[in-house]
C-alpha cells in the first residue's frame, strides 16, 4: 500500500515536469527525498562519555536542517510559479507528489523502527 502511494507520488512529480517539458520542479523532488536524511543521521547520536553532563545539541542540528530542507522543497515550486516559469497545475502536482513521497517515507521508517523496538 505504502509503496503504491510512493509510486503515485513519483508519477505525479515526474508528470509535473514531463507534461510541460520543464524539468526544474524535479529539484523539489530531490529535496523532498533528502528531507528525512538529517534527522536519520543526527537523531540517533549518543555520546559515549558517561561523565559528560551537558545536553547534546546534535539532534537539534538535525531537526533544524530537516526543517530547512522541507521548507526549501515546498518553496521552490512556489517561487517558480510566482515568476511564471512553471504553471499552477505543474506546481500543484510537484508539491503534492513530493508530500506523498515524504509521507510514505515517514510511515515506512516509523513501521521499521517500531518493529525493531518490539524485537
Amino acid at each position: 500500500m505504502a509503496s503504491q502511494i510512493n509510486a503515485l507520488g513519483f508519477l505525479l512529480s515526474f508528470l509535473s515536469c514531463a507534461l510541460y517539458g520543464n524539468w526544474l520542479p524535479l529539484i523539489s523532488v530531490i529535496l523532498f527525498v533528502l528531507t528525512p536524511l538529517p534527522n536519520s543521521i543526527f537523531g540517533n547520536y549518543t555520546t559515549n562519555d558517561v561523565l559528560e553532563d551537558s545536553v547534546s545539541h546534535v539532534a537539534d542540528v538535525g531537526r533544524f536542517l530537516t526543517a530547512v530542507l522541507m521548507v526549501s522543497a515546498l518553496a521552490l515550486p512556489i517561487t517558480l510559479l510566482h515568476v511564471g516559469i512553471i504553471n499552477s497545475s505543474s506546481a500543484f502536482m510537484s508539491i503534492s507528489g513530493g508530500l506523498l513521497i515524504y509521507s510514505t517515507m515517514m510511515i515506512y521508517s516509523s513501521i521499521v523502527t517500531r518493529n525493531e523496538v518490539q524485537y
Binding site: V55, D60, F64, V68, V71, S72, A75, H82, I85
Partner: protein, 174 residues
C-alpha cells in the same frame, strides 16, 4: 536555587518536563523553517525575470542576509551553561563568562546590523530610487523580510535552548 539575572524570575507554570522538551523540539523545527532565504531568492528571481528592472542588484543586497545568518550561527553555537560559569575563587565574573558575553554581543550586533542594513537598502535603493525603483519595491521588501525572519528564528532557537536548560535543571532536582 537557580540564580537569575532579572527580578521577575517566575517559571512558566503548569508545564511538565516532557511538555517542555516537546515544545523545544517543535521550536527547533519552526526556527529551521523560518531561517530559509526563500523570500530573498524569490525577490532575486523576480528581479532576474523582469524586463528593464529599475534597480541594479549587486553584492550589497546579499550582505544583510549573510550578516544576520552569521550572527545567528554565532549566538546559537554558544554553550549557554558556560554563561553561568562562576566558579567562586575569583572576584567578578570568570574570564570564560566574559568571553561568552563578548561573543554574544558580536552575534547580536551582527543580527541587528543585518536588519538595519536591509532597511537602509530598502529606503536608499527602492524608496528613494525614483519612479522605476518604486515599481519594483517587492524585491526590497523581500530583503527586509529575510533578515527579520532570520532574527525571529534565532530568538526562537535561543528561547528553546533556554527551555532545554531548565528541563535539565528540573530533572537534576528530581
Amino acid at each position: 536555587m537557580n540564580p537569575s539575572v532579572f527580578i521577575w524570575n517566575c517559571r512558566l507554570p503548569g508545564l511538565s518536563a516532557a511538555t517542555r522538551e516537546k515544545l523545544s523540539t517543535y521550536a527547533t523545527y519552526f526556527s529551521g523553517a523560518l531561517v530559509c532565504w526563500w523570500f530573498f531568492i524569490d525577490g532575486l528571481v523576480v528581479a532576474a525575470n523582469t524586463p528593464d528592472f529599475g534597480v541594479s542588484i549587486g553584492i550589497e543586497d546579499w550582505i544583510p542576509g549573510i550578516l544576520a545568518t552569521f550572527g545567528m550561527l554565532i549566538i546559537n553555537s554558544i554553550d549557554l551553561s558556560s554563561l553561568s560559569d562562576d566558579n567562586g575563587f575569583e572576584y567578578g565574573a570568570s574570564r570564560l563568562a566574559n568571553r561568552v558575553k563578548l561573543m554574544l554581543f558580536i552575534g547580536i550586533a551582527l543580527i541587528a546590523g543585518g536588519v538595519a542594513g536591509s532597511f537602509a537598502i530598502l529606503v536608499i535603493k527602492y524608496i528613494n530610487g525614483g519612479e522605476a525603483a518604486n515599481k519594483v519595491i517587492y524585491t526590497g521588501l523581500t530583503v527586509v523580510m529575510q533578515t527579520c525572519l532570520v532574527m525571529t528564528s534565532s530568538f526562537i532557537l535561543w528561547l528553546s535552548n533556554r527551555t532545554d536548560q531548565n528541563t535539565e535543571f528540573n530533572f537534576v532536582l528530581q
